[in-house]
Symmetry: C2
Subunit: 266 residues, 2 copies
């Protein structure tokens, strides 16, 4: 059994140092092996210009990952979080998720499906969907709007992902929770949705995030759910191998029952 | 605007003639352009031997489709229903759906994903997922457990299906309704789930079907829902072209936002 969970919180826009401090404080009190934080949780979400994105983004590895590595090494923790990445060669910015563990930075995933004005500020990610074997579990990462595309979770599940870690800043009330619940069921995997809460208002724009972070089991059981508003840490004990059993009935294995020769959906 | 709907009922096992009579009686009172009936709705579902399946199955075209064609021609109706099909050359049986319209039999779809003991009695279908342009709407057919596989609905939606007609005999409480709701949302299509209700008990086996047939709009709105138990006819007016607009926001078209080059899920 391993302990996995999420930390739902409300970052302050543009205050990377303060947000990291907040995360560090929370992590000190959390006992978990795998913890997921929201999307863009060191910068906030509601950017208003490309210059602002470029200024607040960071290389990976960079100051933020170096800072967090110290904690994950000491606490023997796997941490997945969303952050704004700047590629120092191309100068492109990505809405990325990073996986940082007991040995430091392990992986970067660049969100390929961009939502609303992210399209003005970020380059669509082109990192392949990849599964990371942490020893204690095989995990995949998706970021927010990626969940709308069943192919994304499927690509990870078919590669053996047992847990999908899903940093998010969801804004359509209930929709993301509903979709990720079904993603867990149709792939028979664990799903950790770490959503932020709160409202951001900047230069006449306003977004309210839906909170309600959740952990779903492969059979669809809702193992944990936060309120729509407010900070929340929830940790559950799971056996990650439960996700390797794809049977929905004694005679139906969801992966063996697939008929890929008929789908033709590329 | 066109009128589409479902007829949720409880067939009597093995009584094809009586079930057809019941369907015919109901159709006389229904005003609709497209109507969906449950899976295996002329025979019942809970077969107990291959011989029984073979005996109750029929060729398509055959007596059942001939009988129903007379009604659909006269009423200018498109009818989708599930029925047991026997191929007269191979002697194989299929859990099929048929599309019968104002000009007679239009198409047969053989369910490719078989559930539970269907695997003992039916051959898995190998008809490609195909969309039929009825003039008033472009439709695709899926049968029951097919809904568990996001690839199936996706294959139809990518070919332009505006409405998925889904004859079912669902048995997992709430699950089919939840999954098909999300299938409509993630593809921005209409979905008509025609589920049967009632309990079948045969030779020590027992199944209870979950009813709660539903019609979902591309934006996820539940346009109609039946009770879990009891007969129900529900007809709604829709504009099928609404399903051609795949935008979830002003900047997000669900189909243009797809990144098939990254999925690799065949």
């Amino acid at each position: 059994m391993i302990k996995i969970g999420f930390y739902q919180f409300c970052p302050t826009f543009g205050e990377v140092r303060a947000n990291l401090h907040k995360i560090a404080e929370a992590l000190e009190k959390i006992e978990a092996e795998i913890l997921v934080l929201p999307e863009l949780c060191t910068t906030g979400y509601l950017f208003t210009s490309p210059d602002e994105v470029s200024e607040l983004s960071e290389p990976i590895p960079g100051p933020t990952t170096h800072f967090l590595e110290k904690i994950t090494r000491r606490k023997n923790l796997w941490l997945v979080l969303g952050m704004a990445e700047r590629d120092e060669i191309s100068k492109r910015c990505y809405n990325s998720a990073v996986l940082i563990g007991p040995d430091g930075l392990k992986a970067v995933y660049r969100k390929p499906h961009l939502f609303l004005e992210e399209k003005l500020y970020f380059t669509p990610g082109n990192t392949p969907f990849r599964v990371y074997d942490l020893g204690i579990a095989k995990i995949g990462m998706l970021v927010c709007y990626d969940h709308f595309f069943p192919e994304a979770a499927r690509a990870l599940a078919l590669q053996g992902a047992q847990i999908i870690c899903h940093p998010s800043n969801l804004v359509l009330p209930g929709r993301g929770q509903q979709l990720t619940h079904v993603r867990a069921i149709e792939n028979r995997i664990f799903w950790v949705l770490a959503n932020r809460y709160g409202t951001e208002e900047r230069e006449g724009k306003k977004l309210t995030y839906t909170g309600a972070s959740q952990i779903v089991a492969p059979n669809g059981e809702l193992l944990a759910q936060a309120e729509p508003d407010g900070e929340s840490v929830q940790i559950v004990k799971i056996s990650s191998a439960q996700a390797d059993d794809k049977r929905v009935t004694a005679m139906n294995d969801l992966f063996q029952d697939r008929r890929p020769e008929l789908y033709n959906i590329a």
